[in-house]
């Protein structure tokens, strides 16, 4: 078990590193898929097989596929060579990374007893769907429904965003109607910030809808 845990954990970290280090967006996504699979494996080692399967079905099987979809459709798999589209992103990432590392350090020093985990596993009783469903629909009914409402809102928002604006009477194309496959040169003429923002929202909303 320990062996499997170490192996899967290491692979998950490797996948994460690939995800952030890969120049190619598709490779990065594949790294993320690997990480998700390894996490599913970790769930499995904890006897949470339902969770593992759900993890694979939902995240690796659906969300990531849609991520890749978007990457391919937008032809965004070209290596990023220009300077970052989002201002101060490196600085922000540095701050975030520092905070995260600090959190891990705190966690490592305050970590004492694995018992809560074992208790959780015990509570799950082998992670069968029955227990899972009971727990979700009784104890955690409100959060569960809240999350589903959140998803509904996301769906509605996505539909609203995807809905194309009505054609202008004078025929002037709306800025949003800029073709997604337009060459880089053309896209660069769009006011800075507008195009990346569009891309971001699309990627996110698609993922949300299908999830």
């Amino acid at each position: 078990m320990m062996l499997a845990f170490i192996l899967l954990g290491a692979l998950a970290i490797v996948g994460g590193v690939i995800t952030i280090a890969a120049k190619n967006a598709v490779h990065a996504s594949l790294g993320l898929v690997g990480t998700l699979l390894c996490v599913a494996g970790l769930f499995a080692t904890l006897n949470a097989s339902f969770l593992a399967a759900t993890q694979v079905i939902v995240y690796a099987g659906a969300v990531m596929v849609l991520f890749l979809f978007v990457i391919m459709l937008l032809n965004a798999n070209q290596p990023v060579t220009e300077r970052d589209p989002v201002p101060y992103v490196r600085e922000l990432a540095g701050i975030g990374g520092t905070l995260l590392a600090g959190a891990f350090v705190v966690l490592a020093f305050t970590f004492k007893d694995p018992r809560p985990l074992a208790e959780g596993a015990e509570a799950l009783r082998g992670g069968s769907a029955l227990v899972m469903g009971e727990t979700l629909l009784t104890r955690f009914l409100l959060p569960f429904e809240a999350v589903s409402i959140l998803l509904l809102v996301a769906i509605v928002g996505a539909v609203a965003l995807v809905q194309r604006p009505a054609a202008q009477p004078d025929g002037v194309p709306d800025e949003l109607e800029e073709p997604v496959g337009a060459p880089q040169e053309e896209r660069r003429q769009v006011p800075r910030g507008a195009a990346p923002a569009l891309m971001q929202t699309r990627g996110a909303q698609d993922g949300e809808v299908r999830a």
């Binding site: 598709v26 759900t54 596929v65 069968s128 054609a167 299908r210």
Partner: protein
């Protein structure tokens, strides 16, 4: 030898046996399919290599292995190689969880490779990973038609995965477990699930065809439209691996259908009256059932033409998915409000649903066979699906 090591080795051996069995079946499936298709088209089919063409699979294998393995210049080499491996790997892994007989019936061992409590979910998870093979293969080829084909096929598979999963929910609600053993056991007591979930079975059958990219849902390979889709740039053994994955998926789908709706490895109970214990014979019943479904796959391929892509998507989203949802609601409602009524009533309800669908099939066809009318302005700027 410690126990855990023995278990591991035996598991490995069983895994190897399953893989070998599947690959052999795949090899001969290609031959059987071609022969059957040939006969259905009033021609003999391949009969050149060996007696009755029995060595044709060997010839195909040799050819595939020794053919030049071409790689397109623009291909992403790593992913290009990885894609067929993912496809076949997922396909082969999925089969291991299916029980082929009662515990300990295979020379004292269990006739399955792994047994998970969440058997069906794990299976769905693994098949959903199979999308990656096609998807990445299409993308990594670095060519236009493969990427079109890859996008199309993954969209198709994702769409039908939903219908497939939902169509099983009713079954799971009735049985109350996701384990294959539990399901088989339940069926041994209460009769095959097809009796109570005929609507669910029909939907699952259709979704299986779509998931395994078989006719009439074989759009990923539509040679006439996108020159074999994601397979365009593949050759030699990589191509053969994809082909293998398709057939293994087909076998898995057949096995799953047998297990979930037709009693799995158990034979019909009434035969026990003739030969006692016959329904518990390992392997035999499962193989017979799988063979039937494989024949069905081939039979349908010989008969039905390919769907158009928009028809396919509309069919999946507008017919299969809502019906699967309806089936779930029906079963849930029945289970919640049945009182003391037997399960037979659910069977009747389900069958009535199927019959209604049959009767209404001409009306229903407009749901998926006619393009919806959209305003002119929208059509002009219609993007991809």
């Amino acid at each position: 030898m410690p126990d855990w090591l023995a278990t591991l080795l035996i598991s490995l051996l069983k895994a190897v046996l399953v893989v070998l069995g599947l690959l052999t079946t795949f090899a001969y499936m290609t031959l059987i399919e071609r022969r059957l298709l040939g006969r259905m088209q009033l021609r003999p089919g391949p009969n050149r290599v060996g007696p009755m063409g029995l060595l044709q699979p060997a010839a195909d294998a040799i050819k595939s292995i020794f053919k030049e393995d071409l790689t397109v210049t623009l291909a992403d080499k790593l992913v290009y190689t990885l894609a067929p491996i993912v496809a076949i790997g997922m396909a082969l892994t999925a089969f291991g969880g299916l029980p082929a007989g009662p515990a300990g019936s295979l020379f004292g061992e269990n006739p399955w490779v792994y047994n998970l409590d969440t058997g069906i979910l794990a299976l769905l998870a693994l098949t959903s990973m199979g999308v990656y093979g096609i998807f990445l293969g299409g993308w990594a080829s670095g060519s236009k038609y493969p990427i079109l084909g890859g996008l199309r096929s993954s969209a198709q598979m994702i769409s039908y995965e939903l219908g497939m999963g939902l169509s099983l929910l009713g079954l799971l609600m009735i049985v109350g477990t996701t384990s294959f053993h539990g399901i088989v056991g339940w069926q041994a007591q209460n009769g095959p699930m097809i009796l109570f979930q005929s609507l669910g079975f029909v939907l699952f059958l259709i979704s299986s065809f779509a998931e395994t990219n078989r006719t009439p849902f074989d759009l990923p390979e539509a040679e006439q439209e996108i020159v074999a889709g994601y397979l365009t740039e593949y050759s030699a053994i990589k191509w053969a691996l994809f082909q293998m994955a398709e057939y293994v998926n087909m076998i898995t789908a057949s096995a799953v259908m047998s297990t979930l709706f037709f009693g799995g490895w158990k034979g019909p109970q009434f035969l026990n009256a003739l030969i006692p214990g016959i329904s518990d014979w390992p392997l035999i019943w499962l193989i017979v059932k799988i063979a039937f479904f494989l024949f069905l796959f081939i039979w349908v391929r010989a008969t039905l033409p390919r769907l158009r892509y928009d028809q396919l998507m509309r069919f999946g989203w507008k017919l299969v998915l809502p019906l699967a949802l309806a089936n779930t609601m029906l079963t849930a409602a029945f289970l919640a409000f049945r009182g003391s009524g037997g399960l037979w009533f659910l069977g009747v309800l389900s069958l009535a649903g199927v019959l209604a669908l049959l009767v209404l099939s001409d009306r229903v066809r407009t749901l998926w066979n006619q393009p919806s009318i959209r305003p002119e302005g929208d059509i002009v700027r219609a993007g991809g699906d």
